[in-house]
Amino acid sequence: MYPRKFDYTAPRTIADAVAALAGDEGAKVMAGGMSLLPLMKMRLLSPATIVDIGRIDGLDRIEDRGDHIAVGALVRHAETAASDLVQTHAPALARAASLTGDVQVRNKGTTCGSLAHADIAADQTAAVIALGATMVATGPGGTREIAAADFFVDTLTSALAPDEILTEVRIPKGGSGSAYDKLGRRGGRSDYAVAGAAAWVDKTNGSITAARVAVTGVGTKPMLVEAVGAALVGTDGSPEAIAAAAEHATEGVTLLEDLYGSEEYKAHLAKVYAARALTEALGG
């Protein structure tokens, strides 16, 4: 199936890409195209102009920046998943990337594209929230930083303005571990999350000093569930403490029933996966 007609431009610099977006209300960024093109083929979306950022130099890197790592806008899921830097400093993100779609999707789709798309059931969204990441966006007015926890505004809606480009996501180093796990729509861990959770923890001298858990697939947007982390801090991170904290996994979440489960089932899964992610993040 063909998309509707559109104009196509493939700028070489971020500045040119921003200019192309700013001058054209019907323009849309394309990175890997793995979410955009299916929508255009089904004609659910028909942008007047596609601004393909795929030929901009320097966005395809994962960099060590001392206190954080940065994943550029053109880094594909497969590269995020296989990166030593990501595996070492952000195992939750590496795992979430490795569970995104199938081999062909991971060879073309980008980590930043998945974040910008802000699907309610995407994997890497939950990981970057739990990891306390910062999104870096460039628009006509310059560059700004957005905390991952504030980035996912609503269903398929991020905090990006239409003329802004997400150039990289920065993940702070530190903490004692992180993890992501999900139930996939096609069973096992295959396809978008029916429910998934990412966890990041810091444990010092046998006691949890900080913890963040984010859930995806269960509500109107991927989100940080502060109550889980709060309940875990100060405990020893034992299985009992994890189970008690995971009970809070839907606090503040607007649950959403879909083809894959009722609100009740999703709430149950959120708790199960919050506990699993926490257990794995703590090395269990």
């Binding site: 493939a10 093109l37 299916p38 393909d52 081999v103 999707v105």
Partner: protein
């Protein structure tokens, strides 16, 4: 772009998908279209060494790229070990999914010459088959992997009637 080693210079409409460019513009109809949702993998080709779904790829975005399709896999009429494996181990029934399965398998074996059964199944997760139940496809890839390593392929798991 270069397709199976031959360079083609064409002007295309931006909305032309790579799969339509290959099939309609170049007449390479081995690459199939099996769905509208980017899920089935029948359209899988290898672009710059990576397997991708050509139905979800703008032809203009492949400007300058090196593209390989199922037509380029056999060399001078000699089947590629993966093709031979599908033949020898009955890795197909209707054959609709086969070009995509072959391209995913070729890409897998280029990266991992000795995949275990689980790795093979994981590698073809993005390729749907309505006929075989996947079992013989896995055997076909194991056959090809052994052949490419210069080893004797595992025996078929059916008995030849005497």
């Amino acid at each position: 772009m270069t397709v199976n080693g031959t360079r083609y210079d064409r002007d295309v409409e931006p909305r032309t998908l790579l799969v339509h460019f290959l099939r309609e513009e170049l007449g390479l109809t081995g690459t199939h279209v099996g769905c509208d949702t980017s899920y089935c993998g029948a359209c899988t080709v290898i672009v710059d060494g990576r397997s991708v779904k050509s139905c979800t790829y703008l032809a203009v975005a492949a400007d300058g790229a090196d593209v390989r399709t199922v037509e380029g896999v056999a060399v001078d009429g000699t089947l590629h070990p993966v093709q031979e494996g599908f033949w020898e181990r009955h890795g197909l029934q209707c054959g609709f999914c086969t070009p995509g399965m072959i391209m995913s398998s070729v890409a897998l074996l280029e990266q991992n010459p000795a995949p275990g059964e689980g790795e093979i199944r994981h590698a073809i997760e993005g390729n749907l088959c309505r006929c075989t139940g996947y079992h013989n496809i896995v055997r076909a890839v194991e056959y090809a992997a052994a052949k490419m390593r210069g080893e004797e392929p595992p025996a078929p798991d059916w008995e030849v009637p005497s």
